[in-house]
């Protein structure tokens, strides 16, 4: 199918949807996955892995609440370590979803349609994983959970608005809210399709409630289009602002290696870089397992690899400028910091991240690499590792070697650091597996607009394609 086509015609000529589909086959292929009674063995296996790791997270957070964050390796001077590394890493990963669903929507990039749904889901789950850290890494999470919000209280106390952590609270909570609303609004027409196709009473009820009475009238569609444009408009600045604000946690400080004006753009590029790497990490196995190659074609894969390459180059430029400005600033401490970062006790991490994030990503210049799914999958995993290392290097090397040599100290993670980190990966996997099992992972109605039939008579096709029972283009039997 798509693979064969690509071999004969080259990636650039591959369409964003394989030929031979009509409204019904699109709906059927996507909708049968959540509606099917049969749970694939691979799903159960993957879900159990996620659940096991999630169990570890529950245990780690329970132990943390009982004992304090001293169960981690954080210390003075390295008071932030895995906690903030993981926070930044997860928030960064989320950015690809927002970029795909918002910016690419405004730019009318058709290839976004079939990957936007699960990229957005990835965003939401990544933000949930990220949100665990700023709350639980505090000494007293039961207070931090609400004292950082400006709520009216009898003491007349506000948060301290000069702190970048407060900006974080607003940036991340806005981001989470807008992402969830955007995702949900996009799901409403598809939930209605699921409601209409479900045969069991339970599914009909649940999907019925989730679809909020969607009937697919022209007025509904009009409102949907307006709402999604507004939400895309709201999300677009968030792609840039969220990681900019996260980078302020560092850039606003006085520490050498943190206090750098390059941080906002460099963090945003890094976020999109790691986000697209994660989308590829998820898309490559999922499209194979659920036979979605017709919708997530080599064109998508190719485009995502190109975005990775572009953002990877920006990140590489960031590394270069970081080093250059450490030198050019003339600041003794900045220069010393850079030397320690490259050749100090954590030098291995620095060079490893340069090798992965700047070196290996150059392979993506080659079309043959972008078309090689196993290689691309490995590369995307490595970029995720590389981006994690980047945050490790930024956070730990600066704190371990700042101004006063007498207080320098090394950071060594404990087993609880690892259990917590892998636990959030478990949370992510668990949510993601639940998502692909119970929610249409590709936007059915959007992909249908990619079909040639949708373009013949636009107004009519809409009505037919999205009507409450409007699947009846042909007589393909339903899989249940």
């Amino acid at each position: 199918m798509a693979n064969n086509l690509h071999r004969s015609a080259g990636v650039l000529d591959v369409p964003v949807i394989a030929p031979g589909h009509d409204f019904e086959t699109v709906t059927e292929t996507v909708a049968q996955i959540p509606l099917s009674k049969r749970t694939p063995l691979g799903w159960i296996f993957g879900f159990l892995i996620g659940l096991t790791l999630l169990g570890g997270l529950t245990m780690a957070l329970g132990w943390l609440l009982l004992n304090g964050i001293g169960i981690w390796g954080n210390n003075i001077p390295v008071a932030w370590a895995f906690d903030i590394i993981n926070f930044v890493w997860w928030i960064g990963i989320g950015h690809a979803g927002t970029l795909i669903s918002a910016i690419l929507l405004l730019f009318k990039q058709q290839w976004r349609m079939s990957i936007s749904r699960f990229a957005e889901a990835m965003t939401i789950f990544a933000v949930m994983c990220a949100a665990i850290f700023p709350i639980f890494h505090t000494g007293r999470p039961w207070l931090a959970a609400y004292w950082l919000f400006p709520y009216p209280n009898t003491m007349g106390l506000w948060p301290q608005f000069r702190s970048p952590l407060i900006w974080d609270v607003f940036a991340v909570s806005t981001y989470a809210t807008v992402s969830i609303v955007f995702w949900y609004v996009g799901l409403i027409p598809d939930f209605a399709t699921m409601r209409d196709r479900a045969v069991s009473r339970v599914k009909q009820t649940i999907f019925g409630m989730l679809s909020l009475g969607w009937r697919g009238s022209a007025r509904h569609w009009h409102r949907y289009e307006v709402a999604s444009l507004i939400l895309a408009g709201l999300s677009t600045p968030l792609v840039l602002s969220v990681h900019t604000v996260v980078s302020f946690d560092f850039a606003v400080s006085v520490l050498p290696g943190w206090h750098a004006t390059i941080f906002p753009p460099y963090f945003v590029a890094g976020a999109i870089y790691s986000g697209f790497a994660m989308v590829l990490t998820l898309a490559i196995p999922v499209r194979a397992a659920y036979k979605l190659q017709d919708f997530i074609t080599m064109k998508h894969i190719d485009n995502m690899a190109k975005v990775m390459l572009a953002t990877g180059l920006m990140v590489g430029y960031g590394y270069l400028m970081e080093a250059f400005f450490a030198y050019y600033s003339g600041s003794f401490y900045e220069r010393q910091m850079m030397i320690k970062r490259m050749f100090g006790p954590y030098g291995w991490a620095y060079w490893l991240l340069i090798f992965v994030n700047v070196g290996l990503v150059q392979l993506l210049w080659f079309r043959r690499v972008r078309a090689n799914l196993p290689l691309l999958f490995v590369l995307s995993l490595l970029v995720n590792v590389g981006m994690w290392l980047e945050r490790f290097v930024i956070i730990v090397t600066t704190l371990a070697r700042d101004f006063v040599p007498a207080s320098w100290g090394m950071y060594y993670p404990t087993r609880w650091d690892f259990i917590t980190y892998f636990g959030t990966i478990g949370l992510f996997l668990t949510l993601f597996f639940l998502f692909i099992r119970f929610v249409p992972m590709i936007s059915i109605f959007e992909v249908r607009t990619l079909l040639p039939q949708a373009k013949v008579d636009h107004g009519h096709a809409h009505g037919a394609a999205h009507g409450p029972t409007g699947d009846g283009q042909d007589t393909t039997p339903r899989s249940h």
Binding site: N67, R140, W147, L165, Q336
Partner: protein, 438 residues
Amino acid sequence: MEVNFRRDPTIYDGRFANNGWLQELPKPVTKLTWDNAALIAPATAERLEVENGDIIEVTHEGRRLRVPVWITPGQAQDALTVSLGYGRTRAGRVGNATGFNGYVLRGSNSPWFGAAEVSVTGDDYPLVSTQDHWSLEGRNIVRSAALGEYTANPGFAREMEHLKLDKPISLYPPHDYSQGNQWGMAIDINTCTGCSACVIACQAENNIPVVGKDQVSRNREMHWLRVDRYYTGPIDNPDTFLQPLPCMQCENAPCEVVCPVAATVHNDEGLNDMVYNRCVGTRYCSNNCPYKVRRFNFLLYQDWNTESIKMQRNPDVTVRSRGVMEKCTYCVQRINDGRIQAKREDREIRDGEVLTACQSVCPTDSIVFGNINDANSRVAQLKSSPRSYAMLEELNTRPRTTYLAAVRNPHPSLPTHSSVGGHHTEDADQGSEPSGQH
């Protein structure tokens, strides 16, 4: 080889082995806590191919002791120093199983030193120190000059500033201190002997918990005041500098702006106050503190239950619980006490009336605290000394704790080392290897 026996700098001959404060007090030169070790010269360690914590077996007059080594710059070559008083088995809950018993080696023939044979065992032991780096890394945080240099240029310390700030730089209007007191401290590096009495005084005054060897090994000791020790010059015969480091109480405090819940705030006498009740423990303040003087309760370090410990605490100082940040307050409870006393007698607080705990025990009077609004106060006069400098002044933190640079007067026939404190990039990496065992 020679083995020397010394009374221990913290637990003396062992009689204080069960005292947690003294066990956790970093020993003045080695910065070791909770253990003693065989101090060994860097060159001798290199010859024996041992590193910090490697266990050697010392044989003296037929008696043997297995003891880990601790590489100590300035230690005489081929001479071990073992402090006495450790290795007790019935010292009590705190003192049992700490360190190595030097008395096992020592005999009445030669109670203080004698010939010894040393063999390397290949085993090691986790020794814990609070300071892993001995080099100044070319930084100007400690400044010193020889007497000749000082007489030629008394203001040498200020000239070592990397970036001179002529006037305060801030987006915010300055605090108004025209009325009342404005506190400050001057610490004389020249007279500090590193005895560390100030550290213990601070611990007693401010209800600072003992955290134990394991937590110290994770860099989590809670001392609000520490004494940093640096070596400069050749490693076999270095100059040693000691720098007591309490909170700098910065006027432009980097910790204050980053706290999301305003748990660390400026007060109208210039102090940088910690509000424990408000602290949620993000630790951002500690990260942003260039002096790294903040301490965090990573675990529940305080003992809330033992009745006798309740009686031991200073009732004027909050006992901090898990998850909050803490740091030197300039003994704000003593300031308040002085203020109350002065108010009752309807007068101003007199200079020297309020002594911080560290100041009150300093045998060399190296720490002077007082009102810098009063030009006649001792602290104000010391701050106008040509030797006075602010640590990391170029960061525009405007610290209230300032230092008086050291002036050394070495004997002319001794090899002299150059002045300390300029930015010497070329020797920046000297001694940068971690010497701690973690």
